[in-house]
Symmetry: C2
Subunit: 232 residues, 2 copies
Amino acid sequence: MSPSARKAVVLVSGGLDSATVLAIANHEGYACYALSFEYGQRHRVEIEAATRVVAEVGAVEHRTMRIDLAAFGGSALTDRALAVPEAPTRGIPITYVPARNSVFLALALAWAETLGARDIFIGVNAVDYSGYPDCRPEFIAAFKELANVATRLGSEGGRFEIHAPLVELGKSEIIQRGAELGVDYAATVSCYQPSPSGEACGRCESCRLRCAGFAAAGLADPTRYVVPRSAV
Amino acid sequence: MSPSARKAVVLVSGGLDSATVLAIANHEGYACYALSFEYGQRHRVEIEAATRVVAEVGAVEHRTMRIDLAAFGGSALTDRALAVPEAPTRGIPITYVPARNSVFLALALAWAETLGARDIFIGVNAVDYSGYPDCRPEFIAAFKELANVATRLGSEGGRFEIHAPLVELGKSEIIQRGAELGVDYAATVSCYQPSPSGEACGRCESCRLRCAGFAAAGLADPTRYVVPRSAV
């Protein structure tokens, strides 16, 4: 990264996708400002993973912001009274967190504007995904339009770019791209309901997508599972 | 309000505009869920005013959410090192808080979706205002587009409505409308730098707009100022 590198805000959740996006943004020469959220998710394992990912992959700065989306509830990821499904469901699953990516991108935009950054990276994916509406290309396009009317920069003729480099990649392609860039996926946690020590359940939709992605990529899956994969 | 009233999330800051909007939403028959933010603003007076406004005007429920926009800085409203201007400035003033209304509306959207509400009210105004980009009609239109691709409701064919009933009204028209609806503006605080006991400075842009609005409306200004108006 050169001293004059363009700054970018990169959303980092501690999962496989955002770790890959951080590596891509670094590879493209951006000075990366990583942003994570304690948003009331069921487990702190995700925040610990985000810290490991940023340490491994690299960023100029890493901030973790607290925002209590659990106060609103409505998702199995923020409300312990709702069980995480372990079999495929129809439609948008109960793990969808209402407006989560809108909130996260709005806060990334706030930081970008104060940093003087015009670039925001997010690891959404609309191929091997859970069907969340705020992971689709049309969501990213709509947020970009919003960013450019909502801000000082946009209203003065500048343009924000919302980068979603994984949006049209399959999980195995994402893993291959990250592996090429040297991402150590052992640092990441994708599971919706990991054990307190960070072991994946192997049964939720996020685990299934991740596991199938490593298999399709022909790469060893470094995930620590609660039970041996052979028993799943 | 009937038991079957449509639910609406109403952003309430404690200022004159959002108090009027809450009264309008109630008058239109919505079951109002008021949402306020402790976002790192310079003073708690604003939160106290929001509580008074909701108690006076009425809502089914009032939540105040914490979100530390001061961590990003970049505004005189969240950074005490930056002075609030007391004379008109060119362009977007330093009191602009980067992406604030995008963050607030995204959180209102999260609550609306969990409540099953399709209506969100916000008191932005683009006539007698400070030139903030996220107070303009094009911002509201862009957010509505975003809401309808970002959410379960929108992706399943429903439509969110973002109501900004003041957006094209002058300050005196807003005050007249609120007065007709019985809003007690003594409960509200508009000042960017009130005293700890809630007295307005009488000098910042927000005070100037408010004071001129009462004068143009031909109504008594109930604002408590730090110094008598005659001395300002």
